[in-house]
Amino acid sequence: MPRSTYSALSLLRHGLTRHRTWRPAWRRPDPKPHYAAIIVGGGGHGLATAYYLAKTHGITDVAVLEKGWIGGGNTGRNTTVVRSNYYFAESGRLYDLALRLYEGLSRELDFNVMLSQRGMLMLAHSHHDMEFARRTANAIRRNGIDCDLLDRDAVARRLPLLDMSTDARFPVLGGYRQGRGGVARHDAVAWGYARAADRLGVDIVQNCEVLGFIVEAGRIVGVETTRGAIRADRVGLAVAGHSGQLAAKAGFRLPITSYALQAFVSEPVKPILDEVVLSPATGVYVSQSDKGELVIGGGLDLHPSYSQRGNLPTAENVLSGLVGMFPCFANLRLMRSWGGIVDVVPDSSPIIGPAPVYGLYLNCGWGTGGFKAIPAGGTLLAHLMATGEQHPIARPFGLERFRTGALVDEAAASGIPH
């Protein structure tokens, strides 16, 4: 098969034939009876893991098993924000690995992921917030990551629509900003990794749900699926909110609770907001997509859930918080809202490492922050599955930290308790 690349020239060439000559970006293979490695979950993390297994480690006999369609879970349900403004050094290394990979991803995958590093601004609403912002900004800079403290005037210059009045519900005193933060096109990240992995020989098998594990002599040697048994030398799990469900099938429990996280999209308007803005007081964050829609996110729903839709009290909180920040947005109508099932861990940091069952490896616990971490999650799980050793960046994030007590408690760093 000739290796076609996406470029302005290819767009012109296919355009001359009225776009009838485009070929599918990945195959739809039937699963083979055996693979060197199986990844359960065809979201960003699963597809990225398969790509890096093939690209970095030369393991191309890999299948990604997805129960629905690729990128149809949380990868297609997030608010597309990327950033690495975390407090602890361990988290900084992890999330900045992801951001640095995002910065080269369009070229690496030959697929435009539409990364837009427009900046991510965290607001401060009180003197205590400002002290905390200064401490956090210093910690982020100490981690080697770009971050600037902004005073009230600097915020007002960047966000002319923000309610800066002193009698605002949450008055703005300043904030801190990561200039390299921004947004990327979420579907393109899944599709780009899928296409690139497929080209290296990875089988992407959709509509294939994992029902259980094949265990021999205490070791996982494959999975039972809706498309029959598939054996593998090692199995990786990248299934976010359903990690606990699959862990139960393998006979262990995880420190994870699944919640619905909602997001909202407004009707499209002309460019009015060129930052990602987050208010820790309301948990609300907002950015404007290239199409002109406002993309709005907030806190978790109030109770555990496996239902991919949100509940009304949280929607009301998020939208009233948004209108408190930007009163003029009250005129906008919402076009869509949706919910994704996120895997929340007590210390708000991910779990990357071997499972308690031999032959099984975990990438989960990203909570509300999985999208921004996709390239790192894929790199680190691939490293673990290929070498059997934890990558140095992944070492603090193994499941054993709950036993040893070496938690990486990031709840405070992001402003949202994910």
Binding site: H303, S305, Y306, S307, P346, F402, R403
Partner: protein
């Protein structure tokens, strides 16, 4: 939107309540004798049920009392409401 039947106040809006997490998590009877793995399992590991799960709820902006709820985490249907020290009710899942 959930309407939660508080055992003392009757049907109330979910915004009045606080979900206190999984119920029937049993503290090791002799903490000093529990090893790190058992203690970590008690503190952190959860069933995280898909389907009928058992949770503690607090009527925070009402009577201020705790109770247990059996709730389907997919449909959000409330199957049973029962006391804090009552055993898990039989619920068809």
């Amino acid at each position: 939107m959930l309407l939660i039947p508080c055992p003392w106040c009757g049907l109330r809006d979910e915004a009045e309540f606080h979900c206190g997490g999984e119920s029937h998590v049993v503290r090791p009877p002799d903490p000093d004798a529990a090893d790190d793995a058992a203690w970590a399992a008690y503190l952190f590991d959860r069933d995280n049920a898909k389907g009928v799960g058992f949770e503690r709820w607090l009527h925070r902006h009402g009577c201020g009392r705790w109770f247990n709820v059996a709730r389907d985490t997919v449909t959000h249907e409330i199957r049973a409401v029962y006391g804090m020290t009552d055993p898990r009710p039989e619920t068809a899942s």
